[in-house]
Symmetry: C2
Subunit: 221 residues, 2 copies
DNA sequence: CTCCATTTTACGGATTTCCGCATTTGCCAA
DNA sequence: TTGGCAAATGCGGAAATCCGTAAAATGGAG
């Protein structure tokens, strides 16, 4: 098992349980932080001193408070950490069940496991940690159906941008004008129309309103 | 303080902390259940035996599993419980931060307090419990800004239905036909148009896509 | 019942989205 | 350079929405 573990979790009661679990599995050094930025600072500092963490367990969403955190959430933290050290084992422990966000964590960020907070999640977290420690990836049972159901639509930045603009209330005409100004290509109304048509198709949406609804449900926007 | 308390929470580690808090405040009998239906059964049974609970502390969202719960979530539980006994003190303890859902709990269901799970939420929960025990309502500090910002749009069932149908991908024509069949009035396309126009207006949405986006963000649909 | 206010309906033209088809552009390989 | 091909663009008619106006229906109050 991992000896040195960093836990990023802002809800105190949960953090406590996680630490107990990790220690019961034999970890000798477990550090808990409540802010993403602290996690990054800590992780980098220890690595640079030749005593790197072996495992990162992190939540995705954090309560916003007076402190302005340079890292906006769990995804950003994972991305930054993985860019710094692709080998570091990462397990995400979150309540977030939006298929898109989970898929993205596995595919884009290469996390080792994802555990959904729930009735038996501590057990699952234990299994996940053991699986990842053994060098494999962990897939929670309830995810496998969810993931299959939402046949993973992969979106590029442009398509994401289209959805965001649409959800923000811009008409196609306005998008054309804005994209032209901002230097985003392609920007012809015709192409924007076509891309949105494709998006509706891949999401199996009947209208643009439906598309926005589905995108929100899946955590795309 | 309350002597007899029912806690409804499916995440074990959180439930544990809540129980400890409630007991430290002097409660003599604290019962925890992980399913809404169990909460309802328990609450009713004890009341009918002349030993009613004095306080209900409940989460909003619960993990779905093999058991099919007749009560779909915290809101439904609160509604049912309040219909049974309007005097029962209710405090909601949840991660849910959608303004509409919180507003609805206060206005429609008459809860005594709402505490957002977060870094200092156990402290806040303590304050909330003491406040409600004193016969007052508790409003968490971070809610006050959120609530003001989203100048509470109040929606009737019809408007909700419109938004749902729209998000589900039905065109106005289709809605007219469906409403006619289902006996929902009004069902003329003209009125549907007008009502959606009004909704866009009260949400300050620029397009229907924007409207769906805002409604999703605020937890309306 | 009548009056008044509100809501529902109907209608129609302006605007926007929808969607197929034709053309142009950009890029890679031969 | 030249083909070939996919993406981007342009175009146009059909369909849907946007939004104002006006008529009809509804529902209370007096």
């Amino acid at each position: 098992m991992f000896q040195k573990v960093l836990v990023v979790e802002d809800i105190d009661s949960i953090a406590l349980s996680v630490v107990q679990l990790v220690e019961s599995l034999g970890a000798h050094e477990v550090v808990v932080v409540k802010y993403c930025e602290d996690a990054w600072t800590k992780l980098k500092a220890e690595a640079l001193q030749g005593r790197p963490f072996e495992l990162l367990i992190t939540d995705l969403s954090f309560e916003k408070d007076h402190r302005q955190d340079a890292i906006t959430g769990g995804e950003a933290l994972v991305a930054q950490v993985k860019a710094f050290d692709p080998q570091l084992a990462v397990v995400v422990y979150s309540i977030e069940d939006k298929p898109f966000r989970i898929q993205q964590l596995y595919h884009e960020h290469g996390i080792g496991g994802y555990v959904l907070k729930g009735r038996r999640s501590l057990e699952q977290l234990k299994t996940a940690l053991l699986t990842v420690a053994a060098g494999e990836r962990y897939y929670a049972p309830e995810l496998q159906t969810t993931m299959r159901a939402s046949s993973f639509v992969s979106l590029d930045g442009y398509e994401l941008h289209l959805l965001e603009q649409l959800a923000a209330g811009y008409s196609l005409d306005e998008m054309e004008a804005r994209f032209k100004v901002l230097g985003i290509t392609p920007h012809s109304k015709s192409t924007i129309e076509k891309r949105l048509y494709r998006l509706r198709d891949s999401f199996n949406a009947r209208t643009l309103m439906h598309l926005i609804s589905l995108a929100k449900d899946q955590g795309v926007i």
